[in-house]
Amino acid sequence: MPPGTRRTSLAFCALVALSAVANAQSVAKISITPAAPRMVAGQSLQLRAQAVDAAGRPVSNAVIKFQQGGGQFEAVVSDSGLVAAGAVSTIPVTVSAIVPGEKPVITTVNVVVIPGPASTVSIEPRTVKLIAGQSLALRTKVLSAAGDARNDVVAWSTSASAVASVAEGVVTATKAGTATITGVAGSAKGTVTVEVVPADIASISITPGTPHARTGDVLRFNLTVKNSAGKTITGLTPTWLFSPGHGEIDNEGAFVGYDPGTYTVSANLGQRSAQTTVTLAARDVRRAATVVGSIVRTTFPTSEVWVHPNGKVAYLGTHLGGDRVYTIDINDPAKPTIVDSVIVNARVINDVMTSEDGKIMVITREGADDRKNGLVVATLDDPLHPKVVGAFTDGVTAGVHSAFIYTQPKFGRHVYLTNDGTGALHIIDINDPAHPKQVALWKTPRSDAGRMLHDIDVRDGMLYGSWWNDGLVILDIGSGIKGGSPSNPQFVSQYKYDLDALYKDVGAIDGPGFIRGTHTAWRHKNYVFISDEVFSKNDAEKLFAKEPSRAWGRLQVLDVSDIFHPKSIAHYEPEFGGVHNVWVAGDTLYMGAYNAGFRAFDISGELRGDLRAQGREIAQFSPADAKGFIPNSTMTWGVVVKNGLAFVNDFNTGLYIVRIEPKAAVVP
């Protein structure tokens, strides 16, 4: 080897080694562009990311991955960082820099999705008639073309400032005449015509005058205004107010008070106003609840209860490992007795129901040992001893959570099923119960991933589907309102609401990712009662660990007088629980309220506002037993009412038969 060669070789090796060390970069941080991404709903945005080391140099061998961390129902994020947003939301995106053999470096960027440009400005009220000198605050809603609400500051103008001026949405009438008030947001505008009449008011009064009612009663006040000629001025738009106490009054003068006492209700027309008093007595519907009989279950948790139309037999499902429905003789409700059971291939039986004539029963199956779930059909020639005659599994092997049997003279008998795997509605003809066959399948128009149908209610040819993230969906399955039938269900309307916003307090407890969705619906008169199932992330675990915990969830009352535009007008929440399943009989709504037990409350009359604050609760009972599946702990699932008795099924304990006692007579 020539002189110096060894030194050269060694030096070269050292250089190579040093180079290798210098090239072994570690990711110190990830730079994301744009750093604070914002985009418009309906559009796409490309995120870019670069992994750099502590010196700010790019780490060349780092693999960058983008992954959607939430908002699965509002946007889609590809692994290369392309965000396609469908709805207003905040989409967390996880960005990872992955180097083999090293812990990943992870950061999160929130993509804020904002509404598109203003497309419509709607103004309420739509007709305005004021007297000179009166002011009225207008209500506006600015929406994008996709229907997303915007927070624009509306620019106002008037066509006749001498007649009516406007500032910050408040119209002030000056003199008789007509003015067009225009509200502008971006390139969108809305108008309302304001008619101003002379301030010639001789008398102003509110009717009914000094009414007496109860808390929770809805009173509709009318304003009568006469001018000096004795002529009635019609169509005026007053501002309605009330004080003191709690309640609500809307723009048409519909008032509901929550507390007993005397309220002053006012209609304001600028310098003139009218007042009346309304005296509310306590609603006084409270009654005692007595347990007539019970069956405590220890082997499995208890799921659904159903009572045969003959009122002599009850059926009780099982959960979490349970594979049977018990048949219970309730001829003597004080001594309910298990007589038989139907065993099926399942570990959860969530729903049991009979046909209206009591001849057929259906049982849902989940958790089958061959993972081939579905529906079981049984005949009830002897209601105490059901006989399984048929089954349905085609396409529903993921599991059937809920089923509803409904018979229409024109179409015969069908079962409406939920599909756990796809969130679709399956409609099955069971006119031949031994050979059920599917006649229709209906899905909400979204990707299969993201859809979940939890429960079904059917009344008068209309189906009310509780579609979890998608809210309440109403279908015509035979009423004819949209030409629907069981084999051709037709969409009627949908009521969707922001579940995350409604339950933001729950998310604040244990963080995002809590359970919430539209769970149950029940149609009654011109209302649909819907309730949500809500648990914080740790509530369920604490329940089974017998630590203090609770469910959450609100019951909303939707006014479906206009079935195509349901609107929420009242609500109920127990003070420490949620709302699971409901049942309406007469003017009473019964519910299973999880850890809040069994509740019943008065739904007579028109419904508005906070039903609990109005004192509408009739009775409450907390099932619990030392021998229950979970001892001394209430978790009430639901209730079925028959022959004046409430059959209350409690997940932890079993079946309770409850009588709500008549009001005690006052003994002088």
Binding site: V63, K65, Q67, G69, G70, Q72, D79, T94, I98, E102, K103, P104, I106, T298, T299, P301, S303, H319, L320, G321, G322, R324, I343, N345, R347, V348, E366, G367, D369, D370, R371, K372, T397, D420, G421, T422, D448, A449, M452, W468, N469, G513, I515, G517, E533, F535, K537, N538, A540, E541, L543, F544, A545, K546, H580, G628, F629, I630, P631, F651
Partner: protein, 395 residues
């Protein structure tokens, strides 16, 4: 945050301690297998009752040390399916298959049982395993009941419990196993009759292998994506009847793979062909089929001893476990399990025992059976929550 030991009360209580089971042969022909000299613990998920149990087997017998509820709402079924213990033994991960509608991966502390993290994944997340470096958990999104379209493997950062990638693979991926060096991950797609290999350094599918008899094919890259109205390009079975419980129809030559198990030395990958009741052996380097090993009816999950000499297969349609000599491919023993619907297998770190989960049927409890891998006998059994399936060895 809750955690620690707690007891349920109610439906399942009795701890069945079965001593040593003596074979059917006349006494005196063979000595009873020696008792264990140390404790072994496994973690088991019971899908039907939303529970996870720690089962311990040792000199004192077999017992359920503790149980834990892992559901998300008492009135809904979360369905814990897969279990994976971290290499440092400090955490275990449980996949919850049923959600609203997506499933989740939960992270628990092995000592305190406390829930320490949760990540939402895809549809029906099932088998899971932690990478050898402990940084990631790979979970297959099995999508058992959804439309038969291509699914994925979720990659979750184990520390932060966030999903960092979702790698598209094929239809109904099941099984989730890393090569010993962690550079590759293997799963099998039941509906597409494929073995899929992911290069973990690139987070992408590197190769796939079509397993249908007569149509074997080694391919690079990601498999073609099955769509709802498109046919597959293989002979993959379309019949998902009973999820491995129903035998193949006449003429069905599909494999319907349910597990992919790499050999400890990285040279091979074994695939459980549930329909054809055989184990396909693939050369991991050359990516070619080496042999098809006859297995028990409905072979479902696989395990392998750390010395690479014995392969175990749970036989879902047979109520048995097969122990196979790797070298010869011969079945050394077929051991009957306590109940039907055999599911998972976990081999102890010293290759002495294998723990087998059995789902049971109807309202039967699930069961954990212990197999002595030297005596090739069942030596203990205990009941756990129903539909016990996912299992991993802890310590």
């Amino acid at each position: 945050m809750g955690g620690g030991q707690w007891a349920m009360g109610g439906w399942r209580r009795a701890v069945l301690v079965v001593g040593w089971l003596v074979g059917a042969r006349a006494s005196g022909q063979l000595p009873a297998p020696p008792r264990p000299t140390r404790d072994y613990s496994v973690i088991v998920a019971s899908e039907g009752v939303d529970r996870v149990a720690v089962v311990r087997f040792g000199p004192g017998g077999i017992t359920v040390d503790r149980e834990r509820y892992v559901g998300w709402a008492p009135t809904e079924l979360a369905g814990p399916h897969g279990v994976a213990v971290s290499p440092d033994k400090k955490h275990y991960f449980v996949s919850l298959a049923h959600g609203t509608p997506y499933g989740r991966l939960q992270k628990y502390n092995t000592q305190t049982n406390a829930l320490e993290g949760s990540a939402m994944l895809g549809s029906f997340p099932a088998t899971a395993q932690v990478s050898p470096d402990g940084y990631y958990v790979y979970v297959v999104n099995f999508n058992l009941h959804g439309d038969m379209v291509a699914s994925s493997v979720s990659v979750v950062a184990a520390d932060a419990m966030v999903e960092v990638a979702r790698i598209p693979t094929c239809t109904m991926p099941h099984g989730s196993r890393f090569s010993a060096d962690g550079t590759h991950h293997y799963s099998a797609c039941m509906m597409d009759d494929m073995l899929v290999e992911i290069d973990t350094r690139k987070l992408a599918v590197s190769r796939y292998f079509v397993l249908t008899a007569g149509k074997e094919m080694a391919m690079t890259g990601t498999p073609p994506r099955r769509t709802l109205d498109g046919a597959t390009q293989t002979g993959g079975s379309h019949d998902m009847g009973g999820h491995g419980m129903e035998p193949p129809k006449p003429g069905d030559v599909s494999c319907s793979p349910t597990w992919a198990q790499p050999s400890p030395d990285g040279s091979r990958v074994w695939v459980a062909c549930n329909k054809s009741s055989e184990i396909a052996e693939i050369d991991a380097r050359d990516w070619k089929m080496l042999r098809r090993i006859a297995a028990g009816p409905g072979v479902y999950n696989l395990g392998v001893t750390h010395d690479g000499k014995k392969l175990l297969g749970t036989n879902k349609r047979d109520q048995s476990v097969s122990v196979i000599d790797v070298a010869s491919g011969k079945e050394l023993a077929r051991i009957q399990t306590t109940r039907k619907v055999v599911h998972g297998v976990a081999v102890t770190d010293d290759d002495r025992y294998a723990f087998i989960t059995v789902e049971g049927t109807g309202s039967q409890p699930g069961t954990v059976d212990v197999i002595d891998l030297i005596a090739l006998k069942k030596v203990a059994t205990i009941d756990v929550g129903s539909q016990s399936g996912g299992i991993d060895f802890w310590k």
